[in-house]
């Protein structure tokens, strides 16, 4: 994602010492997220948008909705695509150019959480079966990187999708034609919330900040839906988790996820 300097690695011993006393480097509890701030409707040109801050990590998400060709094997469903990019102004080591594997993983994990939850009812996004469907693109850009981009991008996309308005098209002469002045709500079925945790030694930390991120042994991102069911999961990092640790992570993801879902709902409701 971004490279870490040797100094970041030296912080590991300090972080570990504090963890032995049950403390984190920024004073949070082990299962506590940083302050989440969600503002929607920040990009009027987009069909839906959000700027999300998780601590000092900041992401802007914009949703664009436009007619597209369906995937060949799913002609009866609309298209949903989620991307993510770390802008070069987000961190000194972020670079321009084609995305590196960690950034591709970021985009795919965020995409998968939302897609697998079935958040958007894509069966309602068909203009003409096998010919023309509605495409929903959610593009995330990281503007400041202070760790845990997975969750920040995911919350930004979810808030942007929840506040998005879908324009209306009609088929005329085999082509979709925009019906001016008509739009409806994007069909939403559930609110997926991802919770990313890291492991340092035997400790599980929710929402690692960039100092902690630099010295994680392993990490795991678990996405839950509004019913509290797990819908997607991704393990990363050079080391693994024990079964007990995974169970603990899933419990944190459900309880923290529920709290975060309420924060997002409140922010979305306030600005709608």
């Amino acid at each position: 994602m971004t490279d870490f300097s040797i100094i970041d690695k030296l912080k590991r011993s300090k972080i570990l010492d504090l963890l032995q006393e049950g403390k984190r480097i920024d004073g949070r509890a082990l299962d506590e997220h940083r302050t989440l701030d969600v503002v929607t409707g920040v990009i009027p040109h987009a069909n839906g948008s959000a700027r999300v801050r998780l601590g000092d990590t900041e992401v802007v998400a914009g949703v664009k909705i436009q007619p597209d060709r369906p995937f060949p094997d799913t002609g009866d469903r609309g298209i949903f695509i989620c991307t993510a990019e770390i802008l070069p102004l987000a961190h000194p080591s972020a670079e321009t150019g084609p995305p590196q594997p960690p950034v591709i993983e970021l985009a795919r994990v965020v995409d998968r959480g939302i897609r697998e939850s079935g958040m958007i009812d894509l069966s309602q996004c068909v203009l003409e079966e096998n010919k023309s469907v509605i495409g929903i693109f959610s593009d995330n850009v990281v503007t400041d990187h202070d760790g845990n981009l997975f969750d920040t991008c995911s919350y930004a996309s979810v808030a942007a999708i929840m506040t998005s308005k879908m324009p209306k098209w009609e088929m005329k002469d085999d082509k979709p034609v925009l019906v001016e002045g008509e739009e409806g709500d994007t069909p939403i079925t559930t609110i997926p919330v991802s919770v990313t945790m890291g492991r340092i030694g035997e400790f599980i930390l929710a929402d690692p900040n960039i100092d902690e991120w630099a010295c994680l042994d392993a990490r795991i991102t678990i996405t839950t839906n509004s019913d509290g069911n797990i819908v997607a999961l991704q393990k990363g990092g050079k080391d693994g988790f024990t079964y007990e640790q995974i169970v603990k992570c899933s419990e944190i993801s459900i309880s923290s996820g529920a709290k975060i879902r309420e924060i997002i709902k409140k922010a979305v409701g306030e600005t709608q």
Binding site: P44, H45, V60, K64, L87, P88, L89, P92, F137, V141
Partner: protein, 247 residues
Amino acid sequence: MVINLGGRKSDMVLLDENGIRCDGRKVNETRKVTIKAGVLKNASGSAYIEFGGNKILAGVFGPRDVHPKHMSNPDTGILRVRYHMEPFSVGERKNPAPSRREIEISKVIKEALEPAVMLEKFPRTAVDVFLEILQADGGTRCAALDAASVALADAGIPMRDLVCACASGKAGDALILDVNNEEDQAGQADMPIGYMPNLGKITLLQLDGVLTPDEFNKCIELGVEGCKKVYEIQKNALREKYFSKGD
């Protein structure tokens, strides 16, 4: 009058009989401009500008090591600028890969900033300026240049002057200040200007459209007046950050 707005026909009136423009401005009025300095944690310097409907983030890094190494110059530092539009910044989703237009704008903005930045003080290093267009609404290159200049100053990089920018142009047969998106697409001329107000130097100048020599001269004068208004807002943004807490 039926005008063509990016392939879309519109009967919008660019200038009415009272000399009022399509967004309610007078001919010599700029849109609302707000600039905030120091908005990013990681960047050495940063700025956020809202110029009418344009929303742009600028981040500066450096002076720092040059990668790739062969780009470094033993006599002076180098300036690198990337102007980039987000996929959601415009009407139709934009492919996130840099377009030829973005590459050109990056270059003209770099060349507009170079005369102001004292790069000779930092040989073998690079100063990187990243300009991210979150929302575009006509006149992004000027707004981006305004933000870039504040971000460079915020990064503490020695400068001879701030560079301020504003476009002038022609629509509805009148010369206008600060061309908006509709006027850019349906108007008669668009001339972005970058200007160093204390040195009196124009460092960015482009023109799309037809102007008589007389109109051209007046257009530059009008644009420079707009630049000077933006300059005050740029200075205020820096004052706000560095002098507002009683020191």
